[in-house]
């Protein structure tokens, strides 16, 4: 195992052990947070008993819908914008400033417009994710070098064939980066909205547990969300890295 891995594992393990020690010794009292091993046990029992599966499933479905729509729309818009220089230049300040804006501030407005269902949450997730996809797509398309396009013409490829055999494989790593970002943002948007105000879903359950001092439910669910988002991010990152290493772009 490399020194790097060892270092990282030490940091994570050390942090968990520190928490464990603080909890067991009473420095962190039970009302604030139970010990890590108890949280883990409760999560295990919860999943085994199948509790909250409906709520978890609902949140994940919403995340997936937000992700898929943002990815599709984002890639399409990015591809179209790449060919329209003026429109792209006008929208550029919007993209540059977009992630500085509190998108969650629109949530109350969406609730008023669409009612308190799944719509507003998915919409927030979509709004957060779509611009990252557009920007990453544009970035990838920008990097297709002129020599590759000339090679396409010399090989007698028409526009569609060039897109399929050259542009697409070249941009694959960027498309993967876009997916990684879209998933992370969709997650943040949907779960975050459920927290603020919703009637169902994981975020709502955590919020409800908090108001009812139900640490035994709240902490396992929080841990579950952390594990899910880190796992998804790591998997996509690993895939992305594989592609980059093969192409010598790591």
């Amino acid at each position: 195992m490399s020194r790097l891995r060892l270092y990282q594992i030490t940091v994570v393990a050390g942090f968990i052990l520190l928490l464990e020690a603080l909890c067991l010794s009473g420095v962190i009292d039970k009302i604030t947070m139970p010990a890590p091993h108890i949280i883990l046990r409760d999560l295990f029992l919860m999943l085994l008993a199948g509790r909250y599966f409906d709520e978890i499933g609902k949140s994940l479905v919403n995340v997936l819908v937000a992700f898929a729509s943002a990815y599709l729309v984002g890639v399409i818009i990015g591809t179209i914008l790449h060919g329209h220089k003026t429109t792209r230049e006008i929208l550029d300040p919007l993209f540059a400033t977009y992630y500085a804006i509190p998108v969650f501030a629109f949530y109350p407005l969406f609730i008023v417009m669409f009612g308190l269902g799944d719509g507003p949450q998915v919409l927030i997730g979509f709004m957060l994710a779509v611009v990252a996809v557009i920007m990453t797509t544009l970035n990838g398309l920008d990097r297709v070098s002129p020599v590759l396009k000339k090679t396409a013409r010399v090989s007698g490829l028409n526009a569609l064939q060039t897109a399929r055999h050259i542009t697409l494989p070249f941009c694959a790593p960027y498309l993967l980066t876009a997916a990684k970002l879209a998933l992370a943002y969709a997650f943040i948007g949907v779960i975050g909205s459920e927290f603020i105000m919703a009637r169902s879903g994981m975020g709502y359950e955590i919020s409800y547990a908090y108001t009812n001092f139900d640490n035994a439910t709240m902490y396992p669910l929080i841990l579950l969300i952390l594990l899910l988002s880190i796992a998804a991010n790591s998997l996509l990152s690993r895939w992305e890295r594989m592609l980059l290493v093969r192409r010598g772009q790591a």
Partner: protein, 271 residues
């Protein structure tokens, strides 16, 4: 002297060819090239030298059909070239054009896209060319794992696998070190003899042009026009040892004399 007419087939003809790049945002129109009259003979090794910015690459792109002339005609094997790359023409670019997502075999097989031969034949031809270019041990490697010189060989392999009748090379060894350049020069000569194709090479290295070519044209500073045409008279069977010949120095000096003035003009303009 008794006139002896030797029938030489002109493979590429340029008549009065001019290229002007139209005005763009904040940029004036650029008269890059011409008017140029030129004839490239079938089977010969033809080189172009000139100061930077004189339009050498534009000339290559015009012959390749990657861009159309603003005025004048270009013909390849008797047919006018417009905006399309004619069948039978191969191009090796200065920049690395390897597809980083395909390995060497897949890159080379890509060169056969335009042909209608079956899969087995494609594999056979690709293998043969890979062998010819000394890439056999790296057939399954990816470009990222190869050196600059090897990647350029992959691009050359991809070009010649389709057996083009005219091979255009745009400063293909520009990014390589001197030793590799000299070795690649020998390889290009070998390929030229083996394939029997016509080779059109652009280079800024005068010794390279004199060593490799049958005829060399010197271009002026922008807008590029032809100002000298030199015949080396070398035998077809030659390699880098040609530099030992007496003529070599004389030819290179002649090129440099013409070129020096043009280069100074370019530098003065840029400075």
């Amino acid at each position: 002297m008794i006139g002896v007419t030797v029938a030489v087939t002109a493979q590429v003809t340029l008549r009065g060819v001019t290229k002007v790049f139209p005005a763009a945002a904040n940029v004036n129109p650029v008269h890059a090239l011409g008017p140029i009259d030129l004839e490239i003979r079938k089977g010969e090794f033809f080189a172009v030298v000139g100061p930077s910015g004189c339009g050498k690459s534009t000339l290559l792109e015009l012959i390749a059909g990657l861009t159309a002339p603003t005025a004048g005609e270009i013909e390849f094997e008797g047919h006018a070239i417009g905006d399309n790359v004619p069948e039978g023409v191969g191009v090796v670019f200065q920049e690395d054009a390897c597809f980083t997502w395909l390995n060497v075999i897949e890159n080379v097989e890509f060169g056969l896209r335009r042909t209608t031969i079956d899969k087995a034949e494609k594999a056979r031809r690709a293998a043969a060319v890979i062998e010819m270019m000394g890439l056999r041990d790296f057939a399954r490697s990816y470009p990222a794992q190869l050196s600059g010189g090897m990647r350029q060989r992959v691009c050359i392999a991809r070009t010649i696998v389709a057996q083009p009748r005219l091979i255009l090379l745009d400063e293909p060894f520009g990014a390589l070190d001197q030793q590799t350049r000299l070795l690649m020069g020998d390889e290009i000569l070998r390929l030229w003899r083996q394939t029997g194709a016509t080779v059109f090479l652009i280079t800024h290295a005068l010794d390279e042009a004199v060593m490799l070519a049958d005829r060399i044209v010197v271009m002026s500073a922008r807008p590029g026009k032809t100002i000298d045409l030199v015949e080396t008279g070398w035998p077809r069977e030659r390699d880098s040892r040609i530099v030992e010949r007496e003529n070599f120095g004389a030819l290179t000096s002649r090129l440099w004399k013409t070129l020096r003035e043009e280069s100074l003009k370019t530098m003065g303009r840029a400075g």
